[in-house]
């Protein structure tokens, strides 16, 4: 109550004639999903859930500030100056330097809160990345690890070809740097929020409030999140030496590469398991009805809620929760879209087309997407294809858009070469 009062006062004091200050949106999917009622609750579910959401919002604001005035706790290692360059409305500072980069370049797709739900998002396929779970796809680190700074820089520089994510190669490095820092900030904030809901779901009783001690918020909740981000720079996957039997400077159908491409093809159809999803034709038509992790949450929870609504509900709390859940799924989430495996005959790669990019994609798979890795899942582990052999699959993949007759016969699909 008091908190809202203060906020309202601040808004009227500074807000005369200006747009109201922007605010972060709570992760309503997770806030609601983790707040299933227990039977026989005394308080009505909605006011109980509301209280918990307010507690989380207050904590997050204390730890991360607002979209206009970011806070960088020392423990996060985030650089406040960079965040300030990226945050806030688009404006020029005293020396004419343009601020508010995130809202200028990114927010209409990725959303003010980094939830991937900006005003343009619903029209895009794939949807813009939701930074809040801290998951990224195109990176040089172990599958489960966070991206290193230069991974994000690279995504900003190159964009994500084949998706609507543009290249920001024209922005000066200092601005890209500020934006990378801001993406990391939004992720840490989103992960903190998620950790609070998970904690509440697993540990808090109906009548408990969220703890607000430093031990809890910093040591228990924040530190593990920050450690992951700081560990990313050292979490790179090893890169095996390129076998001498292949030559990436020559095309796949060059005799220098015949043996290697044949080996790659055998792995693609055999131990690599690639045909299961990408299809024997590699057109991406094998397993076309799966979802990535962001969409899967909505699909699975949607099923649970629909099932619950179908069954008879004599518990008032549960009925209220199910209806709130339906509203959230319809109003606070994008309609789930399946993620088809890539058509590998187009030669278009979202994570980059250099052999090293493809090597990384195959080694760890694509984090957050159904695509599994053929390398080990962590240091010292054992993969299903030996590291050096992955290069042959890369070589084969690169030959696919040009593969002429192959084993596909007369009804083979059109490949890039046909169009020349």
């Amino acid at each position: 109550m008091r908190f809202t009062f203060i906020m309202a006062f601040v808004a009227t004091a500074v807000g005369c004639g200006k747009t109201p200050p922007a605010s972060f949106r709570l992760n309503m999917v997770q806030a609601t999903k983790t707040a299933a009622p227990e039977s026989g609750m005394e308080k009505p579910w909605s006011s109980w859930a509301n209280d918990r959401q307010k507690q989380v919002a207050t904590i997050l604001e204390a730890m991360y500030g607002t979209p206009d005035a970011p806070v960088a706790l020392a423990e996060t290692g985030l650089d406040l100056a960079k965040l300030q360059l990226a945050a806030g409305p688009v404006r020029s500072d005293i020396v004419g330097r343009k601020n508010g980069l995130y809202r200028e370049h990114c927010a209409h797709c990725h959303g003010i809160s980094g939830d991937g739900m900006g005003p343009t998002a619903a029209f895009l396929n794939p949807y813009p990345r939701d930074y809040r779970p801290g998951k990224y796809k195109f990176k040089s680190t172990w599958r489960d690890a966070r991206p290193a700074r230069d991974d994000l820089t690279r995504v900003l520089h190159d964009g994500v070809p084949g998706s609507s994510m543009p290249s920001f190669a024209l922005l000066p490095p200092a601005k890209v740097d500020a934006l990378v820092e801001y993406v990391r900030y939004l992720s840490m904030r989103g992960e903190t929020e998620l950790a609070l809901y998970t904690y509440a779901e697993q540990e808090l009783g109906v009548d408990d409030t969220m703890p607000t001690t430093k031990e809890f918020l910093v040591d228990e909740i924040l530190t593990p999140i920050v450690e992951k981000w700081q560990g990313a720079e050292e979490a790179r996957i090893p890169i095996a030496a390129v076998p001498t039997t292949l030559d990436f400077t020559k095309p796949g159908d060059d005799p220098a590469n015949h043996e290697s491409v044949a080996r790659g093809r055998a792995l693609f159809h055999g131990d690599g398991g690639c045909v299961k999803c990408h299809g024997v034709t590699a057109l991406g038509d094998g397993q076309a009805n799966d979802y990535d992790d962001w969409n899967k949450v909505i699909v699975e929870w949607g099923k649970e809620v629909a099932g619950g609504l179908g069954a008879s509900q004599d518990d008032a709390g549960r009925a209220a929760w199910l209806h709130a859940a339906t509203d959230v799924i319809e109003g606070d989430a994008l309609r789930p879209r399946p993620i088809p495996p890539r058509n590998l005959r187009l030669g278009l790669y979202r994570g980059g087309r250099r052999p090293i990019d493809l090597y990384r994609r195959l080694y760890t798979g694509i984090n957050g997407a159904p695509m599994p890795g053929v390398g080990p899942s962590g240091p010292g582990g054992k993969g299903s294809v030996a590291d050096a052999e992955i290069w042959h699959i890369v070589n084969y993949i690169r030959s696919l858009p040009y593969e002429f007759d192959g084993e596909l016969g007369a009804d083979r699909p059109m490949v890039a070469k046909d169009r020349l």
Binding site: A36, E38, S39, G40, W142, R143, D144, A145, T198, Q202, G205, V206, G270, D271, G272, G273, K276, C277, Q287, N289, D290, E304, G307, G308, A311, S312, G365, P370, M371, P372, G373, V374, P376, S377, G378, G381, K382, G383, S384
Partner: protein
């Protein structure tokens, strides 16, 4: 349970005199019980096998989200001791040296719910003639998604426990679903086909159990020994006696699974 020969009773008394409660705490008991479905056993639906039908289609796979036997025993209910600092019996601790296997077999996960301890080797293997991938959605441990070719295997170790069981899926065969319980000690069990479970060698005294089932989530309402009980977040304190503690029949109403 087992009667001690007189000489060792004397030894225990002597030891108690000198060592006080250290020895008293070195008593262990087994917690057991049986989950029973409080209604007509539901029949499991057949799964839609639309990938690799020549291999997976042979098996007539059934949904495993709620498995109730003819005698109403409920399989795959997870029970574990929640207390973080619980003392671990040296014999029971030896279980961690063995490997736990999670097999991709007949296009399902075998076992459907696997129990593994922190630091223990989990071998994920593939006994089928088609490739599988095992997408393990752990929260505190790094999640993983490895491709496992026909006849292949991979090993994983966990460094942290998981508060709730982690789902395991195969993206190639979307009907395949399994669960992995990761605990910091040996004190957990998954109920067998007849609904019974047993947690051996728990220190005598009070422990807090947590009950979970994939379809029901935390088991908040159970009837234990004829008495209806509420268990917030599936937690319930039980007293472990030296002779063992038998919770008897734990009746779960069909409504618990209607979520």
């Amino acid at each position: 349970m087992t009667r001690l020969p007189p000489l060792s009773i004397a030894a225990v008394i002597l030891a108690t005199l000198f060592l006080g409660d250290i020895v008293a705490a070195d008593e262990w008991g087994t917690i057991k019980g049986k989950f029973v479905f409080g209604g007509a056993p539901p029949s499991a639906g057949e799964l839609k096998v639309d990938k690799d039908p020549e291999v997976c289609g042979k098996h007539k796979l059934l949904a495993e989200e709620l498995v109730v036997g003819a005698d109403k025993g409920i399989a795959n209910v997870v029970v574990f001791v929640r207390d973080k600092d619980v003392k671990v019996n040296p014999e029971a601790a030896k279980a961690a040296a063995a490997k736990v296997t999670l097999d991709n077999k007949d296009c399902r996960f075998d076992p459907h719910v696997a129990f593994v301890q922190v630091g223990q080797d989990l071998v994920v293997k593939n006994s089928d003639t088609v490739g599988h991938n095992s997408n393990i959605a752990t929260v505190k441990n790094p999640p993983s998604n490895n491709l496992i070719p026909a006849g292949g295997e991979t090993a994983i170790k966990f460094t942290s426990d998981e508060a709730v069981p982690a789902q395991v899926t195969c993206n190639i065969h979307p009907w395949m679903k399994g669960w992995l319980v990761v605990r910091p000690n040996p004190y957990g069990a998954v109920s067998k086909a007849d609904g019974t479970f047993e947690i051996k060698d728990v220190p005598v005294g009070e422990v807090e159990l947590q009950f979970w089932h994939e379809k029901a989530g935390y088991l908040g309402e159970m009837t234990i020994g004829g008495k209806a009980e509420k268990a917030s977040k599936g937690r319930k304190k039980v007293a472990v006696a030296a002779g063992g503690t038998d919770l008897g029949e734990i009746l779960l109403a069909p409504a618990v699974f209607q979520k």
